[in-house]
Symmetry: C2
Subunit: 767 residues, 2 copies
Amino acid sequence: MAYRVVGRSVARNDVIDKVTGRAKYAPDVVIPHMLHGKILFSPYASARIINIDTSLAKSLLGVRAVITGKDVPYTYGSVIKDRPIFAQDVVRYQGEPIVGIVADSEVIAEEALNLIKIEYEEKEPILDPFEAMKADSSLLHADLGSYQHNKITYPEAETNICSHYKLRKGNVDDAFEKSDYIFEGEFSSQMIQHAFIEPIVAVADADNVTKRITIWSTACNPFVIRKELSSAFNIPMGKIRMIVNNVGGSFGGKAYSKIEPHVAALSLACSAPVRLALTREEVFNLIVRGPGHFKIKTGLMKDGTIVARKIETVWDTGAYAECGPVIARNSGHTAAGPYRIPNVKIDAYCVYTNKNIAGAFRGYGVQEATWAVESHMDDIAREMDIDPYDLRKKNILHYGDEGATGQIVEGTGLEQCLDAAWEAVNRKEIKRKSGSKLMGRGMACVHKATLAPSVSSAIIKLSEDGTATLLTSTTEQGQGATTVMAQIIAEELGLPYEEIYVSGTDTDYTPYDTTTTASRSTFSMGNAVLLAARDIKEQLMIIAAEYIGVDKDELTFEFGKIKVSSQPEKSYTIKEIVSKYYGLNGTLIGRGLYRPDSVPEDSETGQSTKITPFWMYGTQAAEVEIDIETGEINVLKLVAAHDMGSAINPMNCRQQLEGAALQGIGNTLYEEIKLNDKGITVNPNFHDYKIPTAMDSVEIESILIESQQKDGPYGAKGVGEPALAPTGPAIRNAILDALNIGLNHLPLTQEKILAAIEENKEKLEGC
Amino acid sequence: MAYRVVGRSVARNDVIDKVTGRAKYAPDVVIPHMLHGKILFSPYASARIINIDTSLAKSLLGVRAVITGKDVPYTYGSVIKDRPIFAQDVVRYQGEPIVGIVADSEVIAEEALNLIKIEYEEKEPILDPFEAMKADSSLLHADLGSYQHNKITYPEAETNICSHYKLRKGNVDDAFEKSDYIFEGEFSSQMIQHAFIEPIVAVADADNVTKRITIWSTACNPFVIRKELSSAFNIPMGKIRMIVNNVGGSFGGKAYSKIEPHVAALSLACSAPVRLALTREEVFNLIVRGPGHFKIKTGLMKDGTIVARKIETVWDTGAYAECGPVIARNSGHTAAGPYRIPNVKIDAYCVYTNKNIAGAFRGYGVQEATWAVESHMDDIAREMDIDPYDLRKKNILHYGDEGATGQIVEGTGLEQCLDAAWEAVNRKEIKRKSGSKLMGRGMACVHKATLAPSVSSAIIKLSEDGTATLLTSTTEQGQGATTVMAQIIAEELGLPYEEIYVSGTDTDYTPYDTTTTASRSTFSMGNAVLLAARDIKEQLMIIAAEYIGVDKDELTFEFGKIKVSSQPEKSYTIKEIVSKYYGLNGTLIGRGLYRPDSVPEDSETGQSTKITPFWMYGTQAAEVEIDIETGEINVLKLVAAHDMGSAINPMNCRQQLEGAALQGIGNTLYEEIKLNDKGITVNPNFHDYKIPTAMDSVEIESILIESQQKDGPYGAKGVGEPALAPTGPAIRNAILDALNIGLNHLPLTQEKILAAIEENKEKLEGC
């Protein structure tokens, strides 16, 4: 079907506001009488607090409140409710909030920090998750067994394992017995930063009488945070208002409460608006992508058919669970790779340590699982002397196959991605060697689930002049969601795209949406928006029939015009109909609620006939050259072929792929947060922690595969997260192709490559 | 039926925020980078602009924009589109905006005003509406015939009559022929100020590229203003956002655009946020209640039956129509009084003069019409020697009678009010004389229509913990609307009243409501809220049936709990049901749209079977004492018996009656804006223009008549406006009773009373 607005690369509807500096972000919020907050963070990764003396700080001129865990004895956490707002006697990581200060200015608040005296008893931190898992390890959370947690978290009481996810399919032991070949590998991913441009900021306006709290924040799932605050402070949800306008990048790092509980406590403490803005260093210590470790064992038959795969993953979630258990679980149910394997056993452990708290990161564990399994695939291919493409092609999930979680594959996108990416990177021959430089090609596939269960709702207000406003709680983080939603409305109601306004999120006003994560917005919110538009249309037809004086069945809606079958020459505009109906003025309210089907997993086997409303697929291929004298690596080309169901805005989709490629290069080649042996971050800034800049960009060929997701809005599904996952293993496999050396531990720095070359001189010989 | 929340005087839900200064009003709005506006208003009531020199002002350091009518050649006006934003060559009243300035501070903007040089050609202003109506009068609006106007405005081209409303019922000429008695009277009401506490302020944030405009203002009907701005600036409605939080009193004076077009133009001119705050003097000159003049002729039979009434009203609307034509029309269809009169002829003229612009004032012309007709009723009673109560009782509209507009009376409240008020004021004997003081009693009735057509819509968001947020565009002006709406939701959904939050108005987010005027909110928005609550209930029952696994018919909803008929011991909370349904979290969205029936009037006769969805009724009685040596008057007691259908919050209703009584005393006894012979206001401040203070309060007995409006929410209808109307004539008729002197021209100042006593010594003799 030909569409007029959908499928076109219309200009983003937020571009002018962003270029002119007019777009509002949380850091821009200024409120009359606003005070400024600061937090004293723990300098130790593990300690007991003996005494806190805030008396001098309290008496500093301009200080309005000083609070500690004694004043706010509440805990929070959606996944596991394990986290105090301010430390209660025990410090579990460097950067744990201990004291909150409110003052007339940031400078005074900072000065007051220096006047606080805390006596600590320093303790030896547990920094190694494998140590933490041992039976005799001391416990970070002795009360783990009694903590509230959600249904997809499986804590093991009296241990440091805050969740143990299991996937069981077939019988791996039997299958390994029968296998012709068995391969094993160990892979790891490092601790990194989300590195969003906008730091974390929140402004709260609350008072201690009504207990009503309004928070402007950089959050990407404000309804989740509203619920966390409601539970932590024991305040009804209706009294908590979260406002999120634009978010300056999140990549998962702004999901769940960050400093919202703290700023709320500070505002309540002095019944005045308080702004709390973290420095870049504080952001580094507040939230990270945690390290992951993967042990994989695969059994194959001689012809390359994979018959069994066993995986043990250990996720280091840091001092508090945050969403670590969900990351472990999501990583777990994806870790077998997008292959048809009858026997799978996966154990994913999420483990407490005295390290920085690990949160969601673009892909929720799938980037890391993909790193491991796709690297392992090429190792197998090399050992078996099969082309890595052929190994994948042989085992890849097809339409109708059952995946590891028990869900049947409903789309054909994966194989299309595989073929398209490999074709593109092989379009011309490469020279394998040039001077001291060796070249190679590699590829990697990804499959990724989205979040379930979840719900999205949307309201469209159609004004009497036919201009529409969409109320949605999807947060705009730079991904272009407002543009896509406006395109859907424009298409469905036949309105000018430019005249559709998409609201910011305000939990008092905008309808519920679970979260803007998991690449779910285009599909879930897109469907809700589509339903809301159809609801508008339905209402228009009813009132049009009444006022034209014909039967509703005689009417048709054609791109913004209502036509009567008996009067083919006439048509009515929305404006005409709405004004007539109300006698004067009025707006129509369209409502859409979308709650995709899903089936909860079995807690012992991870099996479900529908663990996710849709799967996302992609394949990337890389071409690299390595200077074997220096270890320097150049990514010459990246091909990213991803299945987006359909591209509502092709330009937006390409930007997702291109942005992800650059982020993936940084994640793969140089980014790493380093802790010293006391558990203290040594490089919490962009001087010592390098991220790619435009200068590091490479040639990217993005290929949009449109498999038409059957229940997606205009056939669309998500693409943002899986876009990142295959970049790392594709580059790694290209290095393997070039050097015959497999590098299993991220990041693949120049030093690490050079060291590997030095150690494996013999392997280079065949190259 | 016994209710749990409705019918109770629960504490207002805005009280704490208002007491602690936390409630947000437009003057509190502060935006980063905000600039400040000022307007140069015309010092002449009538002039031609020869030249405007803004060059010096533009070069003042800190001035960001200077604009005139040349830059913004747009007109606005919902009733008649007759008004330039800034004067276009012609000045039609003192206070007409001529130049707008934006500067870094108010002080700089004011300084810039002094640097503007304007050359005027001063003209003789037309200040008398009767002069203006003459065929040879010069015309204020030569193009009146070509102006856009609404359907209930009847302009006469090539005259100064911007509307001529006609009511024709029966045949008054024949009826006068057959009458036993004919009485005639002339009455007038003066120009007054609304005297709201909060002056008029607006902040606009717009830019000239996207043309998106956000305005925070003191408006009481933001959707009307949105439409006016959309039409004036030719910008789609969806790009205009009006935000109104609390309004510090309106009394109709903040209906329709006030300074919103100006602040929008200023903000567009410099693509920056601009605050425009009027001084009290500027407010006086911006909007007034205009003067009205009434000629009444009544024919009666010997037994006191009224058989004919003829009225000619002239409304002086000032230089631009604003809502003057609607005031004239509304006053017109009420002016015959709440009596059964078979022959009625009313002509209401709305006339342009070079005076201040007259806008809506609590009652929309009905206070003034009541002044005239109810004074006239007592004059008739005195002449015919009938008790004024008996004269009214004999002629009053009963259930089933047809009123002057052709609508059948559907309630019995009017007669109940009449009897209750008269009983209360006569409960004990009064001494008729004491020294130099004479005492008397008087009464007056009122009937009033509300606005039609109109529409109200409401959205209720029910969070998963069972707390509800109401999205409504009813503006809270101090009248207690948010309290009443929360009571309706609490009652209908069985939720704790304290946990229901009612939003402020934001045209981007809150659903359409025509206006917060015309005493329509409790009835219209109340019904929309009730429908939204029922919609929530309906959804709850459906999802409850699904998740309990029973048939929907087995379920009942009992004040917040869902019960299953087969399990009488069990009940389910809203929280339980909502969480189960969504699997995790989610909110329900209830939607209510209320569009009361009405029938447009015939433009030649004013007849309609339903000109208004409901009529409001009331009777007030006053007891006064006058010192005949000084003319000083004391109101000893006021009884206000009003029919509210039912009192959802009795305390709120009493506060409406008490507030109106005090306002009515000021309107009746001393308030008056005075213009000199050039048309310039001489007392534009609260030093020279007196309003009542708490010290002027009198004993008020408020009687709530509950006639149960059949289609009102819980039987309720409106009361705010009619509460004001009978106070004046009740006091006037008490003076007549005391002194035997009828005073026909407002205000009844001490000087005027003393002069009347001096002139009518002989009339005092019988007292």
